[in-house]
Symmetry: C2
Subunit: 184 residues, 2 copies
């Protein structure tokens, strides 16, 4: 479909995430992103005609990547347990220090509406999980706990020690794996 775009856009998106992480979410300026991407401000605005478009692209790329990764993880173990795949992917994502999607805070500060696609994505994913998980209680608890883990990573609350964290993950996976043991 697309005529093999050069990687300028991707470079800019990555630069934006880097700037948000390193300079703080409130300092995500076009100049800073342009510098970081090794491009001029004019060039940036050529690729993304406004800051809003840049934010939008950031959200869209994140969603696309997450969806793709989920599909891979889920397929890799025979599409048996979506919840378990979701947990493992989320945990993995939270471990990458490089990830720390603090550009989300920039987006919210810019305009909370930027998160609308994220909201609908989450709602749809939850519906899928609900359809595929027999034990609703276990789903609710594990899903929310993962959401909590994501939040703590995002805000950089280092409340849990490594051991506690590992114990938590084990508990969640065993709750999620319960669909073949306990299934009502």
């Amino acid at each position: 479909m697309k005529p093999r775009k050069p990687n300028s856009r991707d470079k800019i998106l990555a630069a934006a995430a880097d700037v948000a992480r390193e300079a703080g979410p409130g300092n995500l300026s076009l100049d800073a992103v342009a510098n970081r991407a090794g491009i001029s401000k004019g060039g940036l605005l050529y690729n993304f005609p406004s800051k809003a478009r840049l934010m939008q692209a950031l959200v869209e790329q994140y969603l696309r990547d997450f969806d793709k990764a989920l599909e891979e993880v889920h397929s890799a173990d025979g599409r048996k347990n979506l919840l378990s795949a979701y947990i493992r992917l989320s945990v993995e994502e939270c471990q990458e220090t490089e990830a720390s999607a603090s550009w989300i805070f920039s987006a919210i500060a810019e305009d909370p509406e930027f998160l609308t696609p994220l909201k609908t994505f989450k709602r749809q994913l939850f519906e899928r999980l609900k359809a595929k998980t027999p034990d609703l209680k276990a789903l609710l608890v594990t899903y929310l706990a993962i959401e909590g883990l994501r939040s703590m990573t995002l805000f950089e609350f280092h409340t849990l020690e490594d051991e506690e964290r590992q114990l938590l993950i084990d508990s969640l996976l065993s709750l999620a794996g319960a669909d073949s043991n306990i299934a009502g």
Copy 2:
């Protein structure tokens, strides 16, 4: 200790929270807060000599209020189950539409360091919970799930229906209440 301060400071703090919620976290300007509080900008800067001090005060007030409320809820049922009190308080807090502490996003955008007191508060609270909760697994799962609930409220992800939400809360409370049933 303090000479019965007039309520100007409180009015300003409340106004700041209102502005962040209504105008968006990125539009928390001193002018906007002053207007909202029905005070002049000079008056605002008389009470809080810089925006940083205002943010700081916002965080401190939130922490003080939460701590006080937790103490009340905990005492009210005989100081039996701290985790259960924590869950009930957090759930209550998430239900107040008026709360929606989106000033947190403003603070983060301003400077992530503003959340340092929040971090230490959370860590200490978790330690207290750990000391008082026999079942560490249950604590981890419920604590994280509450953190998830808080995050979803903050971001206004309306992923859960009312029924699902209620089922979740019941599950968490029963997990938390387990300290007298299952206690190892």
